[in-house]
Symmetry: C2
Subunit: 399 residues, 2 copies
Amino acid sequence: MQQGTDSGTVGPHVVRFVTARSVLAELRRGGPLTAGELVELTGLTRATAIAVCEDLVRRGWAEEHEPERTGPQRGRPPRTFGFRADAGVVVGLDIGAHKATALVADLRGDPLGSASGALPSGPHPVEARLDAVSAAALAALRAAGSAPERVLAVGAGVAAPVDRDGRVAEGSQFWEMFDVGVADALFARHGWHVLLENDANLAALAEQWRGAAQGLDDVAVLLAGERLGAGLIESGRLLRGRYGAAGELAFLRLVDGAVGPHGIAQLAREWGAEAAGGPGGLAGLAPRDVTAEAVFSAADDGDPAARAVLGRLAERMARVIAVLSTLLNPELVVLGGAVAPSAAQLLPGIRGALPGLTDTPARVEVSGLGGDALALGAVRRALDDVAERALEIELPASR
Amino acid sequence: MQQGTDSGTVGPHVVRFVTARSVLAELRRGGPLTAGELVELTGLTRATAIAVCEDLVRRGWAEEHEPERTGPQRGRPPRTFGFRADAGVVVGLDIGAHKATALVADLRGDPLGSASGALPSGPHPVEARLDAVSAAALAALRAAGSAPERVLAVGAGVAAPVDRDGRVAEGSQFWEMFDVGVADALFARHGWHVLLENDANLAALAEQWRGAAQGLDDVAVLLAGERLGAGLIESGRLLRGRYGAAGELAFLRLVDGAVGPHGIAQLAREWGAEAAGGPGGLAGLAPRDVTAEAVFSAADDGDPAARAVLGRLAERMARVIAVLSTLLNPELVVLGGAVAPSAAQLLPGIRGALPGLTDTPARVEVSGLGGDALALGAVRRALDDVAERALEIELPASR
DNA sequence: GAAAATAATTTAGACTCTAAATATAGGTCC
DNA sequence: GGACCTATATTTAGAGTCTAAATTATTTTC
């Protein structure tokens, strides 16, 4: 008279499922915990807490530690259990237009190795891009000293809308047609469970996890570069919209002008043209030499024309942030992407303009995560998936 | 050796809680169901299904019906159970600036009675507004033939941001300071469980429940009048933002111009002024007679100036909807509020402009719910709360 | 009135939890 | 080194939940 532990039937075993989940969550969060501490944290009985831990140990998710003996100790030493961060690994993939970055991390998210490689774009066959992505992932695994079989989940970011089912919306640019098949292809090649995600969404996850938005539940992250996208987190949840296109601000770029390097350079050239009577354009540069870097450094040196250009740029970004603030009322907006390194120069202008543009201005910060932000977010995405599926995953034999 | 059925402890009883919830949900959804049908729907065993139903009957949430005997029948007649929609009532309150509307409904949401009354605004004491709201609710209950003790939950909409804890954001207009206390006051007076909610959010719930957005999970409802607010539903959940101000587009009004009656009239007057050389202004009206109604009916009669005004208005609204579409990618945007009755005239203009303003244009429809939309949404909000708390609610003695 | 059909009810068993009673492993103290 | 103290582990008993199988009940049909 077995209880259906499989199938959709309920029964007492779901209670064990729930308690095991909560115990595992506590172990994952904190360091090793004694049974007593688990009793405190979960509200379970000691007997149950230990039984659950032994379950988890048997299934490979936890391990029993030698009791710590710090200072004078009285009474029977407690049993202590810890999360096995090495029970497997996750991979975070940042699949850009011209480059793929892979980051391998353990189950706590601590990085173990990374690698990246150029991606052929344009008229190359889809297979070539796929090979490069796969190679980057394998190289990162090698660097991490881990094997492909130990990968429990893969997060993969692409510069395209991804809907709730992990599908890339159709009708995107040419090279995105490739990304449509990444998840299936990586599964076919390596058996990996791949979670496709929009790149801006990954940036948001990264900032919320280890960046400027740590612990906040209502955040927007602007991924500003040649493309303009926003990762939106409301009440701790990513917003995707009906077809995954929420936050795809590409179109606002056409309205408001680009904010990435090329956009800045163009803005500067326009400005130069306007001030035609001046001494040969911005900071004395020939139009061809007007790059984003040049504008930022000229502004740093006090060049008034460059400063004006940056002011105008700040105003543009402030308008976008104001719309976000009004519509979604986030607590914080983080500026990330290609503009991040120089965005600090824009902050005062943005912050100054914001209260004039919205009743509910969000705090604004610049991302400090650097170039690995997207891969980091992809790792976070994969970890979330592992946490959710943990008790359904059959762990591979230990390393 | 009692199991802690209260406190935070888990145990076998939570299984019963979960199954009871799902059985109750099925009963609430469909009409009366036989035990066999419940077995089908819930995946439970017949024995369990019946045991749960008897539980629910004992607690007042369900009732056993006489077995239906339709057509030729063979075998032992099945037991059938139904949801008791009359186990209590809910109240939906629409607290406007000058008027309060109350709608009483049974637990399926079918309306039983309504009432409304003028609200003193301006320098009147807070108590006066409170009395009027309370009176409207009691009148609606009387009309429904129900008693205040039978109210299981009250949804209340106010024209102000409401955060996740049901608190009105501070720093709102003078009369909103009153609404800050509604929930507590109604609890103190009648013992009611009041759920404060932003009015645009209620409009969204109403449209999703019984309006143009039925069954859709990604919807935005524009509540356009003198104020401009949006109720945003993503993945079936209301978006509130950090301080409840998500969708508070009041500020966009300043940028883009008002879309309500006064705004329309003003727009028309401006237009008249621009076309100063014409025959004395719009449709030959004196500036003082330029009202929203006049403009709409003049446009209906083919007056070119009025048509131009409406075209401009449509363009304004299209811009707002385009921002919504780009940022949140809803499947549908519903136009509600004061403009709804005449918004059909604007639809072609809006729909035409949208694809030029966003890559991901949403479908656009006009609300057909009429003036009770907000009260209806408030009812929905209350019903959701009852559904969530059902098994924790001690039902009052039957009518 | 027996047979067939359908559904309700009963019974046995498995699994979960809590709570209380009992056992254990280390210290300390004499 | 043995008694004792302390904090924890383990065992035991009991209650609640489910499933699955066996049994019983009710109705129609022949």
